[in-house]
């Protein structure tokens, strides 16, 4: 048997297993050792620059500073931390956007839409704000959802589609409401009303029932005309729907399979009423200049008046 260790001059630990298994005892590679020393040096430099060691009720703040503008408008420096850095980055970015926002704030709405540079700013900044805050309900293209959230791209507006009305809706929010008639009226009356509502939009309806529904609509018993108006075109002051056009929000008439389905969809809304039409108020959540920008963005989605 050949003695394996005699082939090499490497130092071993001296342990021998199974009479020939041995363990080398080589020094660590130089690159590794120096790499280790460099990490220690790096740590010490890091302690000096950034907040590091705690002591007592405080800690070493480090020499690195972040300079931002405080609430009094004066420059102020604080030791590096992520909050200070965020404040500075936010202020830098706001300074970059400021010329645009200032111009938008100072100009009337229709001037903003006529300025190509501002328009493209509204389009890109508005898209970001809209996608995060509005798209969950009104969907990413503003097309809304039948049965829940209004379409913002058509020219049918519950509360008005002028710049001022859109702005008011954004600032203060809206709360749509329609009483439930299931208990106040009997099924035949609701059936008549539903036929009348369908006939208003030029859809197939029982003429006799629709005539009866017409009477009921304008009577004190159902009093639909209080809110929807004498001509059933809706009143934007109370946000009541225009029943004479082909746009549907709450009753999923377009999605119904057949005429019976359309009738049932309208009857459901009349019977159950609505208290779900809640648009949150964005005052306090978005800045006034963001709301103005969003007003223009929504107005320009296609249906602004």
């Amino acid at each position: 048997m050949v003695n394996e260790t005699s082939r090499t001059s490497a130092q071993t630990t001296g342990h021998v297993w199974d009479s020939d298994l041995q363990e080398f005892n080589n020094p660590l590679p130089a690159w590794w050792v120096y790499g280790f020393y460099i990490t220690i040096a790096f740590a010490i430099i890091y302690w000096i620059i950034y907040p590091s060691w705690p002591f007592g009720k405080s800690f070493l703040p480090g020499v690195s500073k972040v300079t931002y503008v405080n609430a009094e408008g004066k420059e102020e420096a604080w030791h590096w931390n992520t909050r200070a850095k965020l404040l500075k980055e936010t202020q830098d970015a706001a300074a970059q956007q400021k010329p645009y926002y200032d111009k938008i704030a100072s100009l009337p709405y229709d001037k903003v839409t006529k300025d190509p540079e501002l328009s493209s700013f509204v389009l890109s900044a508005g898209k970001a704000i809209f996608s995060d805050n509005c798209a969950p309900c009104h969907q990413s293209g503003g097309q809304g959802k039948i049965g829940a959230y209004p379409n913002l791209t058509d020219d049918d507006w519950l509360y008005g589609g002028s710049f001022d009305k859109i702005s008011e809706t954004l600032h203060k929010g809206r709360r749509g409401y329609m009483p439930a008639y299931a208990e106040a009226l009997d099924p035949a009356q609701i059936d008549a009303l539903a036929n009348y509502v369908l006939s208003l939009s030029g859809l197939k309806a029982d003429a006799a029932k629709a005539a009866e529904g017409n009477k009921l609509f304008h009577s004190h018993a159902a009093a639909c005309y209080y809110c929807h108006g004498d001509n059933a075109k809706g009143r934007q002051v109370v946000g009541s729907a225009n029943l004479t056009d082909k746009v549907w929000l709450w009753a999923d008439v377009p999605g119904a399979q057949d005429d019976a389905g359309k009738l049932a969809a309208v009857k459901r809304v009349i019977g159950n009423g609505l208290n779900r039409g809640v648009m949150p108020a964005w005052d306090g959540r978005l800045k006034p200049e963001q709301i103005k920008l969003l007003t223009v963005y929504v107005h320009e989605l296609g249906g602004g008046k």
Binding site: G56, K57, T82, R83, D132, P136
Partner: protein, 247 residues
């Protein structure tokens, strides 16, 4: 004379164990212990209060359904997060959370400030079938929340358990008085354990979170909880630089 060499560590399992534990403890202590000592860990802000009984039950459902596995509740101080989610989270905003719901993974968005952002109706519809309002969503449906009545028989016990961890729910007149001073009368009333069931039902009725006043459902509780998230502190009261100086 014992001469310390690296070899003595490698050949002495007991010594290796003790010194390894020592090294890890120092590392851990240096990172964790100062947070309990440093004055500025907790920001001194007004408005943070323990959850009302209904919100607390909603929070229990949030953890039961494992919402935290996909949603964080911790907005980090980065510009992109601030733009999307709102003001960065403060340590003091989760001081009554046991356990906190900061989370470590976002498959869905952060929820630390989801309160008030969407309507109750949106939450109900979204929880029943998320794709009905967010077509690209991968969130599962939770339709049973709406149809399951909320079990609030043990709400008092749950609050008592939290009280032992330091959440200031009041169990007697003296603690109630202290809460009135600390949070004001309206909030203190909701923190009183003997009235917990009554308060829970009253909030569910008044808030009508799931559009069904006939019963208190799990949906009522969860939506009540979601709607309070991140809304307790009014950041308009504070200058941004004041919060910077807590770090």
């Amino acid at each position: 004379m014992f001469k310390f060499k690296h070899e003595s560590l490698e050949t002495n399992a007991g010594l290796l164990l003790v010194l390894t534990m020592l090294a890890i403890s120092v590392g851990g202590l240096v990172e964790i212990a100062p947070l309990f000592m440093i004055d500025s860990t907790m920001e001194k802000v007004d408005g943070v209060r323990p959850y009302s009984p209904l919100e607390q039950r909603g929070r229990d459902i949030y953890t039961r359904e494992g919402c935290y596995t996909c949603h964080s509740q911790m907005i980090r101080p980065f510009r992109d997060e601030q733009l999307r989610y709102g003001h960065y989270s403060l340590a003091s905003e989760s001081k009554y959370d046991h356990p906190f719901q900061w989370g470590s993974k976002r498959t869905g968005p952060d929820l630390a400030r989801v309160g008030g952002k969407y309507s109750n109706e949106w939450h109900v519809q979204h929880l029943i079938k998320p794709t009905s309002v967010v077509p690209e969503s991968v969130m599962p449906n939770y339709p049973w929340l709406q149809s399951t009545p909320l079990d609030y028989s043990d709400i008092g016990d749950r609050m008592r358990a939290l009280r032992t961890t330091g959440v200031p729910y009041s169990a007697n007149a003296e603690e109630y008085k202290a809460n009135v001073e600390k949070f004001g009368e309206a909030v203190a009333k909701t923190l009183h354990i003997p009235d917990a069931q009554k308060n829970l039902i009253a909030q569910a009725q008044e808030g009508n979170y799931d559009s069904d006043r006939t019963s208190v459902s799990e949906m009522d509780a969860l939506v009540a909880y979601l709607q309070v998230l991140g809304t307790m502190v009014d950041f308009r009261q504070y200058k941004p630089e004041d919060l910077v100086k807590y770090r």
